[in-house]
């Protein structure tokens, strides 16, 4: 068994090995994909080693070197980071499987570049997860932004360019324009950027107090990846990317890295108690609450399936921000659990959307009528994912909501309980309506005869531009990951207690 | 030929001007003078020549290539003296290293002479180069235009 001290740096280095391997195997797709999967498996194993070690109370650490005096690139695994690392690496494995099915099914170009960028991105996500200080976190945060830019603009057409521009523009603008000065300011106040249990700034309360609200605002909006309104536009715009990328953005790494950073900053930089005592975070509770409701409302208007899911993500991620900003331990716990639960749920939804695209070439909710009968597995999984996000037991999504409401009550923000309830209702409307349309409404309209024709007549008449298959379930490479995550969403419900215990040090150190 | 007088006068003056330039050059060690002034005067002789006999004639006597070499050599003399003093164990342009056993800093004389010679050479050739280039761009002055 490999030691956790070694596993930590290896889990950062190994994706880079995979990167080189993918590069070298450019001309042999099968081997290239095998390299991707092998990397993912090894990475998951390493993440599990770290996760277990942290659960046993160890804090594996690794210092790379000091960049600027007082600012080392250093890593240290703690419960939150270890959990995020595990979620990210686990879902990356699933996502890699799915990518293979999707990319081949879609016949995408530049697949080597695609997998190479993925490898870099996951390395960056692991870096964010294990970062021991703000400085390291920022470095990997930026690497994550840059390495996903080619993924978002993968298609290279005008729409992709526009989407990529917004993606890069918003993320760079917030990170350089707000997050970087915030970190520098923190450094100027505290003389260090290390994550400290109980809060780095709370140890320098006198200097920090006058600017606390401002700093918190800089962090909250500076971590653009957390998609707190109004810095969310990058997320819907990134929808031009291929579906595996969307899944990666929404569930595996990018937004998760954002909300993870927010949680980590609140817990380890500000300190929950310090925030609670000063009340600096109260306005952000409202901003997060507003973000939850507004994004849900927008999601209801979206007919494009992926766009609807994107706004759903904006809404769901604000739960994490909300939990952090409540500045009570139950809120933080709820936020942390939401990271894992939402990852599984949203991953399922996105992969289903991708499967629908691969199999039926449908992108709009209104086009899905009756599709549930031809793609039952996909839509059953979609249903499970949706229910999990709505927060119905026995699915993973119910626990975070429970803790968040508990936290809202603890923090005296009773209104937020209402917000959460309303949000659940809205979720029902915009998410559950999708499988409902697919299963319950009969296929009709312009598409219907065509479908029949596909079943009856010759599949491809030569005049049609696209060779069309009859609609059936997506290829197994697509389907298996979906089933995996949907099952995961159920399983997590029952193991949330274990996860709660695991994350307990997070809130206790604050006390 | 109406400009015969000019030509004859030029011929008469040419050598004395050069001589004067050399005087200014080598007297620079003791009195007013030095490489820059000498170089300019030296160049003036040739410029006068070119004005009266035409640029082509002057270029025959002192081709551009020679000037380029002289320019480089001038700098080399200057910097070379400095390098030589460094090689002899002194500092850059530390002339005393040229005559280390002298009791009255003989090296200073050698050094200043060498350096000034370099400067004179460089200045004279640069001046002439500038003149050649400017004058060379216009058509030759026709004898009828005098």
């Amino acid at each position: 068994m490999i030691s956790p001290e070694l596993a930590l740096p290896l889990s950062l280095a190994f994706p880079l090995v995979g990167f080189v391997a993918i590069w070298l195997l450019d001309k042999r797709p099968n081997w290239r994909e095998a390299a991707t999967l092998a990397t993912a498996v090894v990475l998951l194993a390493l993440a599990i080693v770290v996760f277990q070690a942290v659960g046993a109370g160890a804090r594996p650490a690794y210092v790379l070197f000091e960049v600027v005096s007082g600012l080392p690139i250093a890593f240290e695994a703690e419960p939150l980071g270890a959990m995020f690392g595990l979620v990210a690496s686990g879902l990356w494995l699933v996502n890699s499987l799915y990518s293979i099915g999707y990319m081949r099914g879609h016949g995408e170009k530049h697949q080597t570049r695609f997998y190479m960028c993925f490898a870099i991105a996951i390395a960056a996500a692991m870096g964010v997860a294990y970062a021991a200080n703000l400085f390291t976190l920022f470095i990997f945060y930026e690497v994550l932004t840059l390495s996903t830019y080619p993924l978002v603009t993968h298609k290279g057409d005008a729409k992709a360019r526009h989407g990529g521009r917004v993606y890069l523009g918003v993320l760079m603008a917030t990170s350089i324009g707000l997050l970087l000065p915030a970190i520098a300011w923190t450094y100027a106040i505290a003389g260090s950027t290390d994550f400290a249990p109980g809060g780095l700034l709370s140890a320098h309360a006198e200097a920090a107090r006058p600017v606390l609200g401002l700093l918190l605002a800089l962090y909250a909006f500076g971590v653009g990846k957390a998609a707190l309104m109004p810095v969310h536009p990058w997320l819907p715009n990134a929808m031009v990317a291929p579906t595996p990328v969307s899944a990666f953005l929404h569930a595996v790494a990018v937004v998760k890295a954002g909300v993870f950073s927010i949680l980590k900053i609140v817990v380890y930089v500000f300190g929950v108690d310090f925030l609670h005592e000063t009340g600096a975070s109260a306005p952000f509770v409202w901003i997060a609450g507003g973000s939850i409701l507004l994004a849900s409302a927008i999601a209801m208007h979206k007919d494009n399936l992926k766009a609807r899911l994107a706004y759903s993500t904006v809404s769901q991620l604000s739960y994490v921000t909300l939990g952090a900003m409540l500045a009570v331990s139950a809120g933080v716990m709820g936020g942390a659990l939401q990271i894992a639960a939402h990852a599984l749920g949203k991953m399922t939804l996105f992969m289903c959307a991708g499967a629908i695209m691969v199999a039926a070439h449908k992108e709009k909710v209104s086009e899905l009528r009756g599709l549930g009968r031809t793609m039952p597995i996909t839509f059953v999984c979609f249903f499970i994912g949706a229910v999990s996000i709505v927060g119905v037991p026995p699915l993973a999504g119910s626990w975070p909501k429970f803790f968040l409401m508990l936290g809202a009550a603890d923090a005296g923000q009773i209104a937020m309980i209402g917000v959460l309830m309303l949000s659940s209702l809205l979720n029902v409307v915009y998410l559950l309506s999708i499988p409902a349309v697919a299963f319950l409404k009969p296929a009709k309209g312009a598409d219907a005869p065509l479908e029949k024709e596909w079943y009856a007549g010759p599949l491809y008449d030569g005049r049609n531009a696209l060779p069309r298959d009859p609609v059936k379930e997506a290829p197994p490479f697509c389907l298996i990951p979906i089933i995996l995550t949907a099952t995961g969403a159920i399983v997590l419900f029952f193991f949330s207690g274990a996860l709660y215990d695991y994350l307990l040090p997070l809130t206790e150190t604050g006390r | 030929m109406p400009h015969l007088i000019l030509r004859v006068t030029t011929k008469m003056f040419f050598a004395p001007i050069l001589l004067f330039a050399l005087y200014v050059q080598f007297h620079g060690d003791y009195g007013p003078g030095g490489g820059f002034q000498a170089g300019v005067i030296f160049a003036v002789a040739f410029i006068l020549h070119a004005l009266c006999f035409g640029l082509e004639e002057t270029k025959k006597a002192l081709p551009q290539r020679a000037l380029t070499i002289a320019m480089a050599l001038g700098v080399m003399f200057y910097a070379g003296t400095g390098l030589a003093t460094m090689l002899l164990g002194g500092n850059f342009l530390g002339y005393d290293a040229l005559a280390p056993h002298s009791t009255h800093h003989e090296g200073q004389h050698y050094g200043i002479l060498l350096v000034e010679f370099g400067v004179g050479l460089a200045v004279a050739s640069t001046m002439l180069t500038v003149f050649y280039h400017f004058a060379g761009r216009e058509p030759e002055i026709d004898p009828e235009d005098w």
């Binding site: 600027v68 080619p150 324009g177 000065p181 100027a188 | 910097a79």
Partner: protein, 500 residues
């Protein structure tokens, strides 16, 4: 001859002598090979010097064995050792690069003159940096400027606008140098000495009009030379139309040396006790630095010509250095020095990448960059990486600069300045991003002269370019040579100037 003892003067003297020799070489490969060899020698000497200064402290060298303050002193402390290493290092990278580039852009008969001018320019810049004598600074400044005018004008074969650009540069540069020399004259008037260290001693406690006027003249004169906004108007055209290799060298060194001179005069000569300096910092340098950061960067966004865009970006980046200086604190000074070095590295790499494009496509307008990733991937990635450095992405030198600047602004209590810095970095995202998007996501032009298939630039250009890119990345992560030395240098300068 004790080589180590002669070290302070070697980086200056070697290219000076070699420049004259280059004039005598036949056209073709010889002048280039000679210039390359010499610039490497000079870099070696500078590097050794930096090592020695870092180990044993400032080195003083008495030219002609005349002791200061009467003789000319070459005084190398960490501040100028760093700049010496930067200038000679950039020269050592540009010289090998220049062969192909120059062959394509300049009449071959001029090549000995080109390399002679190049070496003299290097020598002049190094001289400005190394010398400890105010008037000597002027002389070397003019030696480098004169050769620069000639070098810029050599771009006239490609684009006649190089000639007018060189002329404008000449007029502005001469005005600047003359202002500087008036300032030096006034200081000499007030103190009777020209040695910088001696000037500092004699100026202590003097607060009269003569000294103040001298200060103002020097500030304006050097401000012209370093393209301080709004005295930058000569720079964009000069950089845009000069031969590409020259643009790269100048952008990375010329203005940096001028910034160094400003630092030297502010902190080593006048010192923070000189009350007028504080006012100048707060009311002149700070607003002009910030204005330059924004105005020049914004102009850069709207340029159709990548070289001009980078030139305007340079003006903006100089704003950062001035901002750092204007805090009047040790952190600010360190940040300015760090950015001075780092900006040299990134702009050098960027201009070299553009030079590769010009070499293959003969054009430096945006259109030539369209779809470049397919046609010249190695060059494209060099541009992308150094562009990221210009923006200030972590892992690159640009980030280190930004970090120190931010830290300095917070430490100086100018939190707003920090936001100015990041806001103007975002403008850099715009202009760099525009070109990067063109290169990565567009198709190559389908018709016209730019559509012809091109190969990657030759290795002799790629290697030096990537050496600079690698420096961008390496010094972005390991900063003991840049930030470490700059911090020490800033601390030493602050001690001299009586600041905190």
């Amino acid at each position: 001859m004790n080589l180590m003892a002669q070290l302070p003067v070697l980086p200056v003297v070697i290219p000076f002598v070699a420049g004259a020799l280059a004039l005598l070489l036949p056209k073709g490969r010889a002048p280039w090979a000679w210039a390359t060899f010499v610039s490497w020698l000079s870099f070696l000497a500078s590097a050794l010097l930096l090592r020695e200064v870092a180990a044993t402290g400032p080195v003083s060298y008495h030219l002609g064995d005349w002791p200061p303050p009467w003789g000319i002193e070459y005084r190398i402390d960490l501040a100028n050792a760093i700049v010496l290493a930067l200038v000679s290092g950039i020269a050592a990278a540009v010289a090998p690069f220049a062969y192909e580039s120059v062959r394509a852009e300049i009449d071959e008969r001029q090549s000995p003159y080109f390399y002679a001018a190049f070496l003299i320019c290097v020598s002049g810049l190094l001289g400005v940096t190394a010398t400890g004598d105010a008037f000597n600074i002027f002389v070397f400044l003019e030696i480098s400027s004169l050769s620069t005018y000639a070098l810029v004008a050599m771009g006239g074969r490609q684009d006649r606008r190089a000639l007018t650009a060189a002329f404008t540069y000449l007029v502005m540069g001469t005005l600047g140098a003359t202002f500087f020399v008036i300032g030096v004259g006034l200081l000499y008037h007030a103190t009777g000495t020209l040695n910088l260290a001696d000037l500092h001693l004699k100026l202590a406690g003097q607060h009269n009009r003569v000294v103040e006027a001298g200060f103002a003249f020097i500030l304006v004169g050097i401000g012209l030379k370093l393209a301080m906004f709004p005295m930058h108007l000569w720079l964009p055209n000069a950089y845009a139309y000069a031969p590409s290799a020259v643009s790269a060298f100048l952008a990375a060194t010329a203005t940096k040396v001028a910034v160094y001179v400003l630092v030297r005069f502010f902190y080593s000569v006048f010192g923070l006790d000189f009350a007028f300096l504080g006012d100048a910092l707060t009311y002149v340098l700070l607003p002009l630095g910030v204005a330059g950061m924004f105005v020049a960067s914004l102009i850069a966004v709207f340029q159709h010509d990548v070289k001009r865009m980078l030139a305007y970006s340079s003006v903006g980046q100089i704003g950062y250095m001035l901002l750092g200086l204007s805090f009047g604190t040790r952190e600010g000074l360190a940040a300015a020095l760090i950015h001075l070095v780092n900006h040299g590295l990134m702009k050098g790499a960027l201009f070299l990448a553009v030079a590769c494009v010009v070499y293959r496509l003969g054009d430096h307008r945006c259109a030539a960059f369209s779809g470049l990733a397919r046609r010249m991937p190695v060059t494209t990635w060099a541009f992308v990486l150094s562009g990221l450095s210009l923006i200030g992405v972590p892992g690159t030198v640009g980030f280190v600069s930004k970090w120190y600047l931010l830290e300095a602004s917070f430490a100086a209590g100018h939190a707003w300045a920090a936001f100015m810095i990041v806001a103007s970095s975002l403008i850099a995202v715009l202009y760099v991003g525009r070109v990067v998007e063109l290169m990565l996501l567009r198709e190559p032009p389908e018709q016209g002269p730019l559509s012809e298939p091109v190969k990657e630039a030759p290795l002799s250009m790629l290697i030096p370019m990537w050496a600079l890119v690698a420096a961008n990345l390496y010094f972005g992560l390991r900063t003991e040579f840049t930030a470490g030395f700059a911090e020490q240098a800033a601390a030493a300068l602050m001690t001299v100037s009586g600041g905190r």
